[in-house]
Amino acid sequence: MLSEVIFSGTGPITGGQQIPFTSPVDGVPVLFYLSASGFTKAAPTMMSIQMLVDDVAISAAQVFVNESGAYRSLVCFVQTTTLTYGQHTLSLEPNSSFLSDSNCTFNITMVY
């Protein structure tokens, strides 16, 4: 099982953030695992970040929060997708409840 970190950084993460990566495999399942934290100003609410590859939703991380302003970790769904060789773009799309800043860390690992 091989893997590669395709993004590691801090917030803020805003809608439309583009992360280019290269798929080393063709036509076989690939997993993207998102580690993320954030906060909301609209509690109680579900905070979530959707992961899209080439504008197609593939997985998400989310958590329900009852407190505004408190930083929380999100839980990532484990879901494989299929890629073709070559260049692709992964984008992160937080929902309207999700906020992040430089205190929030994000990591995306591609497993294949």
Partner: protein, 222 residues
């Protein structure tokens, strides 16, 4: 080829029973992640999944606040799977743990050529054990855990240490005092050589607390 299968990926309420069908025949790693809340403050939140009523793995966190949904620290399980239809049962493990429609769980099954290294334990940190590596080269580490701080704001950092060297860090910002919280689970590659290694989880510096109410999961996948 990556053949990870998802046993369940969806919302509560829990308890919830179901079935899944697999072609896997051999060792697997099961990673179980979930969220929940407590009907009372200052209790351990726990959610467990039983597979075929024979093996189980739990996700836990200490909740200092009642009526507040929490990410639980995932659980990892090394077991064997056989082809065919199997059952799962997801349920809270304490009377004060509640999982409603705003909670969710994800159960994934990772087929592997050999039994993976798995370690679920409670704090305080640091703690170490021995890993017998089967590979030379890249391995995949899954780490998850919780911590708290007496002084905020504070960065809570969990460091995976192999043979005395920090190899991975996952961290979260804490701005609530004396509140246990899960830091983000991290799945990331490391490099190993064959043979025995000391592996464990340590903490970053600072006013960073872990105790017997914190939970940890560590797995190494070859």
């Amino acid at each position: 080829m990556l053949e990870i299968e998802t046993i369940y990926n969806g919302p509560g309420p829990f308890p919830l029973k179901g079935t899944f069908t697999t072609d896997i025949d051999g060792p697997v790693l099961i990673i179980f992640s979930a969220t929940a809340y407590g009907s009372l403050p200052n209790f351990q939140l726990g959610v467990q999944v039983d597979i075929d009523g024979e093996v189980s793995v739990a996700a836990n966190v200490w909740a200092n606040e009642g009526l507040s949904h929490k990410a639980l620290v995932s659980g990892v399980l090394a077991t064997k799977m056989t082809p065919g239809t199997h059952t799962y049962n997801i349920y809270p493990t304490s009377p004060y743990t509640v999982c409603d429609e705003n909670d969710f769980a994800t159960i994934s099954m990772w087929p592997l050529p050999d039994q993976p290294f798995t370690w679920n334990f409670i704090g305080p940190l640091p703690q170490y054990t021995t890993l017998q590596s089967e590979v030379s080269g890249s391995a995949l580490v899954f780490v998850h855990g919780s911590a708290w701080t007496a002084q905020y704001p504070q960065s809570l950092g969990l460091i995976v240490v192999v043979d005395g060297n920090p190899v991975l860090t996952t961290q979260a910002w804490a701005n609530v005092v004396a509140s246990h919280q899960a830091v983000p689970a991290l799945l990331a590659p490391i490099t190993l050589t064959p043979g025995p290694h000391q592996i464990g989880i340590s903490t970053s510096s600072g006013d960073f607390m872990t105790d017997g109410n914190d939970f940890y999961a560590l797995a190494v996948i070859y």
